[in-house]
C-alpha cells in the first residue's frame, strides 16, 4: 500500500518542508518567521509547534506571520502580499526575518528571493521550503540551517564546540542535549552555540568560533560540511550512540579540541558498569523488536545492549520498545533499559 505514510519512501512521505524549516527558525528568539502562503499552512504548523512545545514543558509560542494568500492572490500573484507583510514585520524591530515559501507560491511562480532582496534595515533571509516541491521535512531543516549559517562571519576560534541540528520536535531533545553536555563537561569543554535551539541572532554570529561541530546525526551532514567549508571547523557526525560509541565520542572530541580524555573515559566506563549491574535482573531474557520505522542505529544499539546482558533476540521473545532515533549516550541507554525491564516484567 502507498496510501498511508510509511518510512520506507521518504520522498513521498517525508513530511512537510515548511515544518522542518520552522522547527529551526522558530528557535531564534529574536527573529520573526513569515510563511508565504495561505493561512492554513501557517495554522497547521503553529498548532503542531504548540503541541510539541507543550510536550517539552514550554508554553511560549513562536511568532509566525502568514501572508494569508487568498484565491485572488493565487490567480494574480502573491508577491504584493509578501511585500506588504514584510514591511509590517520590519516595523516589529526583530533581529531578523525568515521568509518561508510554500508549495502554492512555488507553483504560481512567486519570486520570493527577489522580494526579500533589498535594504530593509534588518537581515531578511529567504529559506526555500516549498512543501513537497522543495523536498521533505529534513530538506526544510537543512535549508534553514544552511541559510541561517550563511549570516555568520568567520571569527577567532576558541576551545569550544557547537551543537548542530538538534531535533527540536523530538520529545527527548533537552535530555539528549543534557547528556552531551555532561560528557563535554567531563572534558571541561563548553558549548559555544546550539545551532539552533533557544538561540539569538547574536549567538549565531559566533558560529565560527568553535573548534569542533557536533552534529545531531547524519541527517544534517550537509550542514556540517558547509560549516567546515565556511569556517574550517571539523565535525563529529553524530551524538554518541551506544556504550562503545559513547567512549569513542569522548575520545574523538578530546582529540579534536586537544585535551586529555583518560579520566573522562574511566569515569564513563565506571558509570556503564554501574548500569550493567543495576539491570542484571534482565540478563538471559529473550526479546524481540518491532523494527518498522527504526533506524539501523537504533537496532545496532539494541543489539549491543542485548549482547551485554546475554539477551537472546528471538521472534518469540518478549516485545521490547525501541526508539525511532537511538538513545543518546550512557544515560539514554539507562532510560531504554527501564522501558525494557517494564516490558519484560509486565
Amino acid at each position: 500500500m502507498t496510501l498511508n505514510p510509511l518510512p520506507l519512501n521518504l520522498s513521498r512521505f517525508g513530511g512537510c518542508t515548511i515544518t522542518g524549516a520552522l522547527s529551526v527558525t522558530t528557535q531564534v528568539r529574536d527573529a520573526i518567521t513569515i510563511i508565504h502562503g495561505p493561512k492554513g499552512c501557517a495554522h497547521h504548523n503553529f498548532s503542531l509547534l504548540h503541541a510539541t512545545a507543550l510536550d517539552n514543558d514550554r508554553i511560549s509560542l513562536p511568532d509566525l506571520i502568514s501572508t494569508g494568500l487568498s484565491e485572488s492572490d493565487i490567480i494574480f500573484g502573491g508577491e504584493g502580499a509578501l511585500r506588504q507583510t514584510l514591511e509590517g514585520a520590519v516595523r516589529q524591530n526583530s533581529g531578523a526575518i525568515f521568509v518561508l515559501s510554500t508549495c502554492i507560491v512555488d507553483t504560481i511562480g512567486d519570486d520570493v528571493a527577489a522580494v526579500c532582496h533589498g535594504n530593509l534595515g534588518i537581515p531578511v533571509i529567504p529559506i526555500p521550503s516549498s512543501g513537497f516541491l522543495g523536498g521533505t521535512f529534513h530538506n526544510g531543516v537543512n535549508n534553514a540551517l544552511n541559510a541561517i549559517a550563511d549570516t555568520a562571519e568567520p571569527c577567532e576560534k576558541g576551545p569550544y564546540v557547537n551543537i548542530i541540528g538538534e531535533k527540536n520536535l523530538e520529545y527527548e531533545v533537552e535530555e539528549n542535549y543534557a547528556e552531551v553536555r555532561r560528557l563535554l563537561g567531563a572534558l571541561g569543554i563548553p558549548v559555544n552555540v546550539r545551532f539552533l535551539r533557544h538561540s539569538s541572532i547574536r549567538d549565531i554570529s559566533r558560529l565560527g568560533a568553535a573548534r569542533l561541530n557536533i552534529l545531531r546525526d547524519s541527517e544534517v551532514r550537509t550542514v556540517g560540511e558547509r560549516l567546515q567549508y565556511r569556517f574550517d571547523t571539523p565535525f563529529i557526525p553524530s551524538f554518541p550512540v551506544g556504550f562503545a560509541g559513547t567512549i569513542r565520542f569522548i575520545q574523538e572530541v578530546a582529540d579534536s579540541i586537544g585535551v586529555k580524555s583518560a579520566r573522562a573515559v574511566r569515569e564513563e566506563k565506571s558509570l556503564q558498569d554501574e548500569i550493567l549491574a543495576e539491570f542484571e535482573d534482565i540478563a538471559g531474557s529473550s526479546v524481540t523488536f518491532d523494527p518498522p520505522g527504526m533506524t539501523s542505529d537504533s537496532l545496532s544499539v539494541a543489539r549491543e545492549i542485548a549482547g551485554h546482558f546475554d539477551i537472546t533476540i528471538d521472534h518469540d521473545g518478549c516485545m521490547v520498545p525501541l526508539q525511532v532515533s537511538p538513545p543518546i549516550g550512557t544515560n539514554g541507554i539507562r532510560h531504554l533499559l527501564h522501558r525494557w525491564r517494564r516490558s519484560l516484567h509486565a
Binding site: T2, P5, K39, G40, C41, A51
Partner: protein, 373 residues
C-alpha cells in the same frame, strides 16, 4: 485575505476532511502533499488516506497518481471521497473527468478557499444529504470531528432524546453514509457553527434555556414524544447550578471574562456566565464570522490579536484554546475551543445538553476558586 500572525483556525481542506471522515463507509483521500495530509490526520484522529503527490506529478499531472491510489482502494466496499488541497486545485487538471470511471465524491476545498467551516459545508453539500419522510425521529447536527466535544455532545443529546421517547435520525456528521440520504424531517443542533441545514430546525441544545425551548417544541410537534422527563431534569439541574453559583457569589466577585471560540460555543459560554454568575463578558473573540449578539464581539483570527485583547481587558477568566492559555497561565482558564493541548481527556465531555451546562459551570467555578486559593 490580509496577513495574519499565527492563524488560529484550520483551513477549508481540514474542514472537508472533518465532515467526510465522520461518516462510516467513506474513505477520505487527501489529494495533495504529505504536509497537507499529516495535519488533518493528526487533528481528527481518523484513518485518512493520501495521494502524497510529488513535484513531478505537479509538473506532468497528478492523474496517474490519483488513479493509482483509487485503484488500491477499490474493493474495500467504501465510498471514496477525494479532498482537493491547494496545489492540485490550481493545476488546471480536469479532475472530474479523470475520475469519471470511479464512483467517488470530489470536494474542491483548497486551503485558500476559506476556513474550516467553508470546507465542512462544501463537503456536506457534496454528499447531497436529504430528508426521507419515512425516517422517524430527529436528526442531531453539529457533530464535527474537529470539535473535541462532539462525541460527548452526541451521546448527551442521544440520551436526552431517548428520555423524551424520540428516536435519533441522522447524526451530521457522525453516522453511516447511507443515513445522510435518509435524514429525519427535523433537526436539533449541538454546535451551530457546523449546522447541516438538513430538515426543519427545532433549536439548539447549548444552554439549559435553549434545551427547554427546543424540547417544548419537540413536545408540540411530536405527539408520541414525552419531553417531561427532560424538562424535569433541566429544572432540577438548573436549581443545582443556581445554588453553586450563589454560594460562589457570596464570597467572590463575578469573573471579568474574555471568550475565544467559535461563535456558537462562545455565545453559549457568555449567556451561561451572565445568567448564573452575573459575569462581566468583556469581549468575545469569535474564531469564525460572528452573528448577531448583544455582547461585544469581533472576528479574531490571529494570536497577536488574542494577546492584545487579553492585555487590554486584563480578565480574571479566559475561555478558549490552549493557545489562549499560553498567554498567561496564571489566569483562570477553561478549555472550550480546539486545540486543547496539554490536558489529557479520555472521557467524552459535552458542551451541549444538560451535562454540557453542568460541566461548563463546574469547570468555571473550580477554575475561579482555584485561582483565589
Amino acid at each position: 485575505m490580509p496577513e495574519c500572525e499565527n492563524p488560529l483556525w484550520p483551513c477549508a481542506m481540514s474542514g472537508a476532511a472533518a465532515c467526510l471522515a465522520g461518516f462510516e463507509g467513506v474513505t477520505v483521500v487527501i489529494h495533495g502533499s504529505s504536509g497537507c495530509y499529516y495535519y488533518p490526520a493528526t487533528l481528527l484522529h481518523a484513518p485518512l488516506k493520501g495521494t502524497f503527490i510529488l513535484e513531478n506529478e505537479v509538473i506532468f499531472g497528478s492523474e496517474q497518481r490519483l488513479c493509482e491510489v483509487l485503484e488500491e482502494l477499490n474493493g474495500d466496499n467504501k465510498k471514496i471521497a477525494v479532498v482537493m488541497t491547494c496545489v492540485p486545485a490550481i493545476l488546471g487538471e480536469d479532475i472530474r473527468s479523470m475520475l469519471r470511471d470511479y464512483d467517488v465524491i470530489l470536494v474542491d476545498s483548497p486551503g485558500f478557499s476559506g476556513d474550516i467551516e467553508t470546507g465542512y459545508q462544501k463537503a456536506l453539500s457534496a454528499l447531497a444529504p436529504s430528508v426521507d419522510p419515512g425516517t422517524l425521529g430527529i436528526n442531531i447536527d453539529g457533530a464535527c470531528l474537529f470539535d473535541p466535544y462532539s462525541n460527548g455532545n452526541v451521546r448527551e443529546i442521544t440520551r436526552l432524546l431517548g428520555h423524551a421517547s424520540v428516536p435519533v435520525g441522522t447524526i451530521f456528521c457522525s453516522d453511516r453514509l447511507e443515513r445522510a440520504g435518509h435524514a429525519a424531517a427535523c433537526t436539533v443542533g449541538t454546535n451551530e457553527d457546523f449546522a447541516s441545514g438538513v430538515g426543519t430546525w427545532l433549536g439548539s441544545t447549548l444552554g439549559l434555556e435553549e434545551i427547554k425551548t427546543t424540547f417544548n417544541r419537540i413536545g408540540a410537534l411530536f405527539p408520541e414524544s414525552d419531553p417531561g422527563p427532560v424538562l424535569e431534569e433541566i429544572d432540577h439541574e438548573d436549581e443545582r447550578i443556581v445554588r453553586a453559583c450563589d454560594k460562589f457569589l457570596r464570597r467572590f466577585d463575578p469573573p471579568h471574562t474574555v471568550i475565544f471560540s467559535g461563535f456558537s460555543y462562545a455565545t453559549f459560554a457568555a449567556y451561561t456566565l451572565k445568567h448564573y454568575l452575573d459575569a462581566d463578558i468583556q469581549y468575545i473573540g469569535s474564531r469564525n464570522e460572528p452573528g448577531a449578539t448583544s455582547f461585544h464581539v469581533g472576528h479574531v483570527q490571529g494570536f497577536s490579536e488574542v494577546k492584545e485583547l487579553i492585555r487590554h481587558y486584563n480578565p480574571d477568566l479566559i475561555i478558549g484554546s490552549s493557545f489562549e492559555r499560553s498567554v498567561d497561565p496564571k489566569r483562570a482558564f477553561i478549555g472550550l475551543t480546539p486545540p486543547v493541548r496539554g490536558t489529557i481527556r479520555l472521557a467524552p465531555h459535552a458542551v451541549a445538553g444538560i451535562s454540557g451546562s453542568l460541566s461548563f459551570v463546574e469547570d468555571v467555578l473550580n477554575a475561579c476558586m482555584d485561582l483565589r486559593k
